[in-house]
Amino acid sequence: MPALRYITLIAGVFFLLYLTTFAISFWAYPDTNERILDTKDARATIFGTPPRYVAYKAAAIASVPGSKYLIIGGSPALLGFRPHRLSSELGAPTHNLSLDSPDMSELALEIRLLCDSLPPERLKKTTLILGLDYLQFLDPHRRWTSGVSELENELGRFGLYSDIEARPHPRFGRPVHTALVMLLRPWMMIAAVYDHSILPILMSAKNMARFAIGDPVFSFSIYNSQTAAVLSDAEKKSSLTMWRNFMGDGVPLNPEQFAALADTVRYANLKGIRLAIVDLPIPAWHRDALPYNASYEKLKAGALTGTASMKNVIQIDLTSMDDEKNFFDSVHPTDMAAQDWERRVADKLLEFQGPEAE
């Protein structure tokens, strides 16, 4: 058999495998055209995880004209602001693109990615709602084994983005980018299966699922349950131990993360985008038992110096909602409390007169 025919055979079988997997991906993860993007749904989509959902799906927000709100933060913001309800309250499409346990650098990267995907005229009609708590200001080397955030990792996965560390942007124009994301469906599906089926087995086998060990209530339950719970003293103690291990007992909060916050505020101001910084509450028993809050407030105030004079930046303080009945674990709000968060934020945002597009 001549070499050319042999190569054609290999290419042909490869293509058949590709087509089969491509077809299976539509059966396993039917394509949907959500009007509202919500990273809470990421696991049910072919993107599998919130960072991958943001990296390969969020470009869709650019195609919708008019005002819009983008919620960005960690899992408390993910559960605390349900986008469909907020869309009704605010009268404009609201997308929740929060990530799981991000740090501020990762959120800053996400904000740049999202803002760069919007044309300037739409950017000025966009409001970013940035949910903050001290958990986002950890040393990235403690947060991620390699020191590289999950979003950065996702942006590098398929080679569709360039300049990932500084200012990530798609290598190709939107039609080509969208087509390539579609063509990559087989490997998106395989990555999702790996993340949901194989990785947890590897992790538990290696006894590395720190959340699951430390916090019996948390236990990745954020996607399943948002009902009220009264934590026992033993559960609170266990949660506090988990957070101490996660944050590093005696390890100070990372100054680079506060610098990233300051940079993000400057960036939003420069771009003319409206930014609502929401100070999220954590239960008083959690906040008062750990040593981070005082230094967090001090460093955050330093990072946000000058914010008051910025017309397009507003700060919304929800930290007084720290009663334990508002939380179903050590950080995440119950659904009732979330509705309260949403109302308060919506009221403030509707009052907020940021600079509109000309």
């Binding site: 055979l9 990792n153 080679g159 395989i190």
Partner: protein
Amino acid sequence: MRLDSAQFLLLAFTAVLFFRLAGRTGRSAVIALASFAFLASFARTPLFLVPIVVFVLLGYCALLLASRYPQSAVLTMLVAFFVTLFVWIKHYSIISNLPSLPFAYSTVGLSYLLFRVLHLIVDVSQAVMRRPGFASYFNYMFFLLSFSSGPIQRYGDFQDQMEQEPVPLAIDDINTAIDRILLGYFLLTIVDACFQWIFAKLSVRFIAGLAMGDLSPRAFTVFSGLAPVYMMHVYVNFAAYMHVIIGIGLMMGLRLPENFNHPLAARNFFDFWNRWHITLSEWFRDYMFNPLLKALLSGPAPANMAPYLASIVFFATFGVIGLWHGTSFAFVVLGLLFGSGASINKLWQTALANHMGRPRYKALQQQRWYIQAARSLTLSYIAVALTCVWITPQTLVWLLTPRGVLLGIGTTAVLTMLGIVSGYLWEARPHFRLPNIGVRTPILAGTWRAILIFTVLSLALAVNAASDIIYKDF
């Protein structure tokens, strides 16, 4: 451009396609264009690659000089000039007070460019070979498959293959090439990713612990795990890269030199370097060790001093090999450790041969226990020495204190013991053959390889944890 990126594969296979289609003269143009595209991918600013390009252009000027003035004084001056230029561009810490270039620039591949340019200057000056033409020189220096991380192919070997009529691609060649590339990507994206993950997980806590004065048995245990894991990370990462580029070379019809030959089976320090980064070892043997030893032996020293002079030259050669890996103080320590390892090994061989007599010493070298012990000690020593590459400068300073040295010696001893036990267990492993799954017919073989390609690609994209080629930074 990373070697595990889609861009590199696209570029490489486009080059393979056009290289195969082009005639003998067109092939040089294909290599030049592909190499230029690869080089350009590293350019972040217009000036980013200027030092590298100027270095290569100066290299050609030096070749003109060397061919015209073949005197040894000129050769010495040219070699000294390029080594100095290299040290200055790389901005070694020993010259950190000297002014550097006032713009950001890349040094990717510079170490390998130095080896190539010195090889050409020496060989042209000594009339071992004729001066290459500029186009051939450019292609040799910037050849996309070996530019960033080797192998250090000799010009004659490279040019002979470029000038030969392309050999028609046979099915066996395709299979070998695909197998090498797939093995490389599997090692890089899965096996190396595991080593890297374990290393990253352990090293952060170990370094933080040492910084806080943690010298507990746990820290010792962690270090005993970290040192071999890092060595395996380096080995698998570099070996994987070699598999990929050798495979792509085979598709082109070019045979790149092998850089590894089962280094974990090495029986002593020198054997290790004959099996690990082979082209680097051979380069140092030909252009540093042999000339230095020859110069020393031509002096007034008596003949029975030869082994001791050799141990001095080994110290110098391996010291430079260690120093070559990086620009900071850590690599001076690495050089000292490599140099000491080589000269102590040579002195041990000499002393034992003198004491026992050569026949008995040779018999001892064939003993299983001696082979296992020597192999384990060699690998453990190198694993511990490589700590210099990954440890923070502050922690390295601590490791150089008496307690740190004790930690290093203790770890080497423990790893040697474990290595001996592992060696015996490895030898005693049950041997079995994989069942023949009938991939002898071309249709089955081709189908099997297509499935493998899809599987490895899927695994690589799903795990998404490959690290860049470590040797690119050296």
